[in-house]
Subunit: 261 residues, 2 copies
């Protein structure tokens, strides 16, 4: 029996690093990685990196799926199809969702938000879509197919601390944390984790550091982190997350930060 | 110079009670209430209740506006027009937004959420629209028209505590709290309050108590509160809120519950 790990936002950044961290971790003997993102080229690169960590002793299966998770009118059909295909191809005793995909959305003064219509794409992507995927994952894999399930929401310090000029990002992360806490309260047999990976060097933090309207103190912090090489490396925080999951000591629903003991 | 208080969801429940609580409180000498909701009949009733509290010594002005706050494609135009009309009719030294409108959204197991498309109306209403109105209120009244501003987000215990089968409501309230906390951090001259009014007897709690898929313990709590008359009355919590605002002792951005000291 295999373990299936579904990772959204797997074409780059921390999503890619989590994929390779699981590929390196031999505690999971039979592993299938299901990698989802919009960017197919990035997915192929992640797949290659995983394949290079596969061996004849421990062959890692992969599948890649180019899906735009902000297209909420078609999302449920594409995800339902994908989950069905996975379950038809193998038998899984354990399944994990690494609910990682997300975007910055609007960065700038809270008193100058874009129009409601302009806000919807980010809200659809970061809140509605993210919540629905976790919900459907549990329905499909835990309830209908009786696998042991881990649900990991990739959170942020922003979920619990307001960061100036990042109100949309903070509130989206707060919404996701709270939704997953409620899920954990309802379903004691699940293992639910809100993981804040720390300030890591990714495309997102590069974009953020140079966002014109970012709070000057935050901008200086991100630029200094890059210049002084004090960012957490994606591989480091991904490894910490894999250890958290495999050691299984957190309370379900917890918000755990990279820097926590 | 007058004080303008804009209340969303003013056609019933706590929105109506907040309108009448301000009408009763003589600490605001010259008061204009701008009442917004979808239901025009309810708005007219609230207006009548306010008018009955008005006197020749302290004449309370009112305006009512039937607007569907979930219609996010037209929302910014209707609110921009409304705010302009208010400022053309009077001079205000102080303005308040009581950002109260909200809906329950989906109630039921988190593992059985409706499709993303079906979730959007509640997310648009409770998150996107609510956030945008606070944002535009600050831009228009604090920045462009230089009035002293209070922003009150009507929150809930659900914003900080997961309630089983109410994940959508909880996560929407968490998102609103966090957005308003960020606003408070950015703008020290504003007075921002996240107020949790407690379990009050309103249409919403009546609907909730009878929601088929509500967690049985919560359902029993709401039914017991109604049967034993232990709900907080809307007028009681509305008065507490008015006192909080007028006494002005909270830290901007705080989440304050009815039951807090």
């Amino acid at each position: 029996m295999s373990t299936l790990i579904i990772i959204t936002g797997a074409s780059k950044g921390i999503g890619r690093s989590i994929a390779t961290a699981f590929a390196k971790d031999t505690r999971i003997a039979k592993l299938k990685l299901c990698l989802i993102a919009r960017n197919l080229e990035g997915l192929k690169q992640t797949q290659q990196m995983v394949n290079s960590l596969s061996s004849s002793q421990r062959k890692i299966q992969t599948s890649i799926h180019s899906i735009d998770l902000s297209e909420i009118d078609t999302l449920h059909k594409s995800i339902e199809k994908l989950f069905k295909e996975e379950i038809q191809q193998d038998k899984f005793e354990r399944t994990m969702l690494i609910n990682n995909a997300g975007s910055l959305g609007y960065v700038g003064p809270s008193s100058d938000m874009p129009t409601p219509m302009e806000m919807t794409q980010a809200v659809n992507f970061n809140v509605t879509s993210a919540i629905w995927i976790s919900s459907y994952f549990v329905k499909f894999f835990a309830h209908q197919h009786k696998t042991k399930c881990n649900v990991v929401n990739i959170s942020s310090l922003c979920a619990i601390t307001p960061f100036k000029t990042m109100a949309m990002y903070c509130s989206g992360k707060a919404a996701r944390d709270m939704w997953h806490k409620t899920l954990a309260a309802e379903e004691p047999s699940l293992r639910v984790l809100n993981y804040a990976p720390g300030a890591i060097e990714t495309d997102m933090t590069d974009i953020l550091a140079n966002a014109k309207e970012l709070d000057p103190e935050l901008s200086a912090f991100y630029k200094r982190s890059k210049a002084k090489h004090t960012y957490i490396q994606p591989a480091t925080t991904a490894k910490k997350l894999v250890n958290l999951i495999m050691e299984d000591k957190y309370a379900s629903g917890d918000h755990v930060d990279f820097w926590d003991e």
